[in-house]
């Protein structure tokens, strides 16, 4: 009897400390955002809570450009990471043989080098007088201003680079899990290799595609490092606005409204996406 009762409370006791931490430092701050966003005032005179919903309409009308740009850049980067890493993940899962672990290691290597340093390195590589920029200029591939750095292309390329492993690894895990006999069965039943790929491999890789796009798209929408280091204010994304509102101009209500909007929009998008792809459970797809 004693043991039985203990087993009922055990999971709750195990959860309690960690859950408390997440409630206080994740859930509470998220709700507090909503509270702060409805205040009026400024840094000097202080803030007062007065259901000031106009913060939201102001935020949307003033920064819709950055919002849309964030979605566009993140979408483009997600698509690019998919195009680059699907063949890579496929090769590692099905063809790499004894090079499999080495290739996986190379994919996760960027995680262990400073994110900022890698982005600064791209700044070096794309700079106006760099080897790459001059060669591209020689063959006339650069536009009229002849620049690579400080362009939209540079920012999207930077985001693509930085989040590529987040796409490649879930794709690899999903492809690796596929039972090879299913593909053989398809070809035995007279499916062409192409048909077997589209009718068997792709549907089974769907959880990986789902996880990869989420893991790439979500951080990409909120990113501001790439726009800051590789772009100009014309490439600024919503993350740049939130960080400068909070840390530079200390317009807390507007910053809180923007960040609450971003979170809400992404959550809705994730749910819609999960429903569209028929994932039973978000986490299941990601793990």
């Amino acid at each position: 009897m004693g043991l039985r009762r203990r087993r009922i409370v055990t999971p709750y006791l195990l959860l309690l400390p960690g859950l408390a931490w997440l409630v206080v430092f994740f859930l509470l701050p998220a709700l507090n955002q909503l509270y702060v966003s409805l205040q009026t005032g400024n840094f000097e005179i202080g803030y007062r809570f007065d259901w000031n919903w106009s913060t939201y309409s102001d935020a949307i009308s003033k920064y819709d450009e950055q919002f849309v740009r964030s979605l566009r850049y993140a979408g483009a980067a997600t698509l690019l990471t998919f195009v680059i890493s699907f063949p890579l993940a496929y090769f590692i899962a099905f063809k790499a043989g004894r090079f499999k672990n080495l290739m996986l290691l190379l994919i996760i290597l960027p995680f262990f080098t400073s994110y900022l340093m890698r982005t600064v390195a791209w700044q070096t590589i794309l700079a106006d007088h760099s080897f790459v920029a001059e060669r591209l200029r020689d063959v006339g591939l650069l536009g009229e201003d002849g620049r690579l750095l400080a362009t939209t292309k540079a920012v999207i390329a930077g985001i693509t680079y930085n989040f590529l492993p987040f796409m490649a690894l879930p794709l690899y895990v999903a492809l690796e899990k596929i039972d090879r006999r299913l593909i053989e069965a398809a070809t035995d039943l007279y499916a062409s290799r192409w048909q077997a790929f589209w009718r068997v491999t792709m549907p089974l890789a769907l959880p990986g595609i789902f996880a990869g796009t989420l893991l790439t798209f979500i951080p990409a929408v909120g990113d501001f490092i790439n726009a800051q280091i590789l772009g100009t204010s014309r490439q600024y994304m919503i993350g740049n606005v939130i960080q400068s509102k909070f840390l530079v101009v200390t317009d807390y209500p507007a910053a809180a409204a923007l960040s609450f909007l971003l979170m809400a929009a992404l959550l809705l998008a994730v749910f819609a996406y999960a429903r569209a792809l028929g994932a039973r459970n978000l986490e299941e797809a990601v793990v």
């Binding site: 430092f25 507090n32 909120g222």
Partner: protein, 281 residues
Amino acid sequence: MTRRPLRDYLLGFWSVAALVYLFIPIAVVIAFSFNDPAGRFNLEWSGFTLEHWKHPFAVEGLGTAFKNSLLIAAISTTLAVTLGTFMALALVRYRFVGRGPTDFFVFLPLATPEVVLGAALLGLFITMGLATGFATIVIAHTMFNVSYVVVTIKARLQGMDTHLEDAAADLGANEWTAFRKVTFPLIAPGIAAAGLLAFALSVDDFVITNFTAGQTSTFPLFIYGAARQGVPPQVNVLATMLLVGVLGLMALNVLAQRRRARAEGAAVVPARAMVQPGLAQ
């Protein structure tokens, strides 16, 4: 018959090109730690030197920032691994009311952009009138690392044979003894991988730290500040050291696992553990 090798060849070529693309900036970071820059900007190659490797902390403020980063990573990793291991155990090993929602809730921080997490935390600290600094960075890093640890260790637990625990219980072990003697040794490599991941994420975190740091400096904050006037080559040296250090620890974990010679595909485990990293970048 001749079409197959050609297609594989193209796939292989594409894959190698993608890996080279991933590696180029890392190579640049490492190479420029040996550069002897002519001016303030370490952007053009102007000569080989070992000077920065001999004196990696010769830049003012860099030593403190680096030390802070290591300390914050050590504390937040310890906290997150402790809290997260318990949570993962509860979520995988027990059936209880509220399990599904808890699972989802723990996953949520990973599905939130870092800028939102950082801004929300700063908002809370301001509302509470709490001064930001070393402690608030530790709080923030522990928060995002708990979720990573739970997800990583859960993956490990789910692949584990529960009959071993049942056997221990049948042989008279109580819950704690069964955990200590059976479960823990089995999930230890997973815990180590999760810890390594948490450490790497904490050391490298810029965005959330930027919001919660106050006047405290960390390695990424130092790099960010330096980026405007030119990053000194000593930063490249430290970044390279971190890379080598973490790789070394990872290799040790894999070797320790191999030595135990259990479970097929042991070498894949650390890589799999890395599947979820850094929504936080």
